[in-house]
């Protein structure tokens, strides 16, 4: 009897679901009309963070499924060596780093976009990689070693499309010219490297600090016991 109360609608409102569906569907429009699309995505509120999250999730899922289901002729992976958390991080971390670094730089460079919008733009730009990626993964299992070129072709196509879309997104979101977009994107990549470097330094400092106190404690312990 009590189970009946647990309906989907009690968690998610119908309006939200409607909006989510509409904004997700909008990603299909965006990839074919990048300039209009990305402009409206933020300025006309035709995209949503929920849909962006879902796209990132699909992309993450694709990358994980690829490990297992891509033909070993394409990617020869030793599954015993795979660490799922590392795989997840290697997809999520670059996206987040990109967004933070891009937002950081564009704020200094008269960019109009906010962090949320940069994230949405990046996530929506992943759409072609997702759409091409899943069928391509299945296709790889029907190819011989000579035909792997087809797989690589589609894979590269998705990648190039993605890069083009990201550039278009940044252009529209920040209201930049093309040259400024390219310049800010290069700076963003440098910024990502700097962030990673600082994180590594930070963690190694912290661990050195902890090690210092641990050895101090041990030293005292040896003296008194």
């Amino acid at each position: 009897m009590r189970l009946k109360k647990l309906k989907l609608s009690s968690f998610i409102s119908k309006e939200w679901l409607n909006h989510f569906g509409k904004t997700l569907k909008y990603s299909l429009y965006v990839i074919f009309h990048p300039f209009d699309g990305f402009w409206d995505l933020t300025h006309e509120k035709r995209g949503s963070v929920g849909a962006a999250n879902f796209l990132v999730f699909l992309f993450l899922l694709l990358n994980i499924l690829k490990l297992q289901f891509t033909s070993f002729l394409v990617s020869n992976i030793n599954l015993n060596r795979i660490n799922m958390w590392v795989e997840i991080a290697s997809v999520i971390a670059p996206i987040l780093l990109w967004c933070v670094s891009n937002w950081g730089f564009t704020t200094l460079m008269d960019g109009k976009g906010r962090l949320k919008e940069v994230y949405m733009g990046t996530a929506y730009a992943l759409t072609p990689m997702i759409i091409i990626g899943y069928p391509n993964m299945i296709l790889s299992n029907f190819l011989t070693i000579e035909e792997i070129t087809f797989y690589t072709f589609f894979d590269t196509l998705g990648m190039i499309w993605f890069v083009a879309l990201v550039l278009a997104a940044m252009m529209m979101i920040h209201d930049y010219s093309l040259s400024k977009t390219v310049f800010s994107s290069i700076l963003t990549l440098v910024g990502m490297a700097v962030i990673v470097f600082i994180l590594v330094v930070f963690f190694s400092l912290i661990s050195d600090g902890i090690a210092y106190f641990v050895s101090l404690y041990q030293e005292i312990q040896f003296r008194f016991y």
Binding site: L73, N80, R81, T144, I145, E146
Partner: protein
């Protein structure tokens, strides 16, 4: 009473559990611990996989086992002192007892080893006194039992007949760097072989121009098989910005020098070398097969090149990559290399796949200190150790024999028979990659494509898998093309029918 019994059984159970915990490390073999077994292979991922022994050490031969009469007629037995070379012809073993300036001939009758003679002096018709040896490094014996000896300390190579009468003597050749007055390098022949045409190839110390070739009359003809100069682009660019003095201080671009030479049943020379940058151990090609023009024709089709250990750690005083110091070849073009860094023997097949590796540094039977030479008598291996001054004899096991048989059948193009042997190998070692691929090949030839695919996929043989898959795909499409056409027809007819029905319905409605 019952309570006591219960208590007793509880105690016993605890005792068993505790003893189980404490005995755990001693009687458990961990699959990822390379040091727990004697033999191993590398799998497709370059990880060590323990393997049954392909060769088992059976005994040591040392110099004091053999008594020889000296000039006074007194029989004495001397240990070898730093022996550097050996050669096996038929069932006779010739050991270069370098430190004692003699060569010991040992015969093996299948049961025991007997000292035949001690070779110390040679008779030359031109010389008044008999010639003696000074640090003989290596010996080659022809089918007629003529001996070619590298007399390291006397800077010469002796060619003598079986009764020790000198046929010819090869002395310092008139060629750079020996005739260069500034260099004045001494000719120090170390390892040598004679090819089927009677030419002698000598590997001399500190010579990086290749092997010295002497013709049948003992004249030096040319250097053969110099390894190409390793050329580093970055270093080359740096050189533009250096002063003369800095360039002089830099290591020169020099070809590597060989440390040993052997000849296989087809008359090709195998050379080994151990002077290469540590980082380049996978690409340095430490073992090479030279053709008559001196180019390297060794087949390297394995997952990894024949370079000894693929992974190593610098522990226990044993640092750096494997350093090959000798090679022995088999009739089926397999070959074994001996590594002085970790005292291991690596066996490769004719395609360059690692068959098995075994040995180590230590002082038990089957372990070495400084293995310097490896030769074979039939299928048995004889490894000479320069520091232990003895020879370790290895006998082929059932496992090793099965591998040899499988390889032989494969080379005879009898793939099904080969697969049978590979199946037997798999029964003894389920981690043996080559066996899976061997079985897969046979299945492929029997048109059992899906099974073959399974075998190839297990060991990630991409090329063969692709071949099997292509056939499998073709079969599947041919088998099911009819079904596809039928399904398509059904769908088309269905769509047509629905449209027709809808049209009729519409007309009926309009009529109303």
């Amino acid at each position: 009473m019952r309570k006591i019994k219960k208590l007793g059984s509880l105690l016993a159970a605890t005792a068993i559990a505790v003893s189980g915990i404490f005995s755990f490390p001693s009687d458990t073999v961990f699959a990822d611990d390379a040091s727990t077994t004697y033999s191993y292979t590398y799998d497709i991922w370059g990880d060590v996989q323990n393997s049954p022994d392909a060769y088992r050490p059976t005994k040591h031969i040392s110099g004091d086992m053999f008594e020889f009469e000296d000039a006074d007629g007194k029989a004495t037995a001397k240990n070898f002192v730093e022996p550097q070379g050996q050669f096996i012809r038929g069932n006779h073993i010739f050991v270069c007892d370098t430190g004692n300036n003699r060569i010991v001939e040992i015969a093996y009758d299948g049961k025991e080893f007997k000292g035949v003679r001690e070779i110390k002096e040679f008779h030359d018709a031109d010389a008044e006194e008999p010639l003696t040896l000074n640090k003989p490094y290596d010996i080659y014996v022809t089918k007629d039992m003529e001996m070619i000896i590298s007399d390291y300390g006397n800077s010469r190579v002796l060619h003598v007949d079986k009764d020790c009468n000198v046929i010819k003597i090869m002395t310092t050749p008139d060629v750079t760097p020996f005739n260069d007055p500034e260099d004045a390098r001494v000719f120090q022949p170390q390892k040598l072989i004679m090819d089927t045409a009677g030419r002698i190839y000598v590997q001399a110390e500190k010579i990086n121009k290749g092997l010295l070739e002497f013709d049948t009359s003992g004249n030096f003809t040319q250097y053969v098989g110099a390894s190409p100069v390793k050329f580093n682009m970055v270093d080359y660019i740096w050189r533009f910005f250096m002063t003369e003095k800095q360039i002089e201080a830099q290591p020169q671009f020099v070809p590597t020098e060989y440390n040993n030479v052997a000849i296989d049943s087809e008359g090709f020379m195998y050379v080994t070398m151990s002077t290469f940058e540590e980082a380049e151990y996978r690409t340095a090609n430490p073992v090479r097969r030279l053709n008559s023009t001196g180019s390297d024709i060794l087949v390297r089709n394995g997952n990894d090149p024949p370079c000894g250990d693929l992974k190593y750690d610098n522990a226990g005083g044993y640092n750096g990559p494997s350093k090959f110091y000798d090679v022995v070849t088999f009739d089926n073009n397999s070959y074994c290399c001996i590594d002085q860094t970790r005292g291991r023997i690596f066996a490769y097949d004719f395609q360059g796949n690692l068959l098995y590796a075994f040995g180590g540094i230590g002082n038990r039977l089957g372990y070495f200190r400084k293995p310097i030479a490896i030769d074979r008598m039939g299928d048995s291996l004889f490894v000479l150790d320069a520091q232990y001054s003895n020879i370790t004899v290895f006998e082929l096991t059932e496992f090793g024999e099965l591998i040899n048989k499988a390889l032989r059948e494969y080379q005879n193009a009898d793939y099904d028979k080969s697969a049978e042997y590979w199946n037997d190998v798999l029964r003894l070692n389920g981690n043996y990659d080559l066996a899976y691929i061997g079985v897969g090949r046979a299945l492929l030839r029997q048109d059992k494509f899906d099974e073959a695919m399974e075998y190839f996929k297990t060991k990630r043989d991409r090329r063969n898998y692709s071949k099997a898959f292509e056939q499998y795909r073709k079969d599947q499409i041919e088998d099911h093309i009819g079904d596809f056409v039928k399904a398509l027809l059904v769908i088309l007819v269905g769509v047509w029918l629905i449209k027709k029905v809808r049209k009729i319905q519409k007309e009926v409605r309009e009529c109303d």
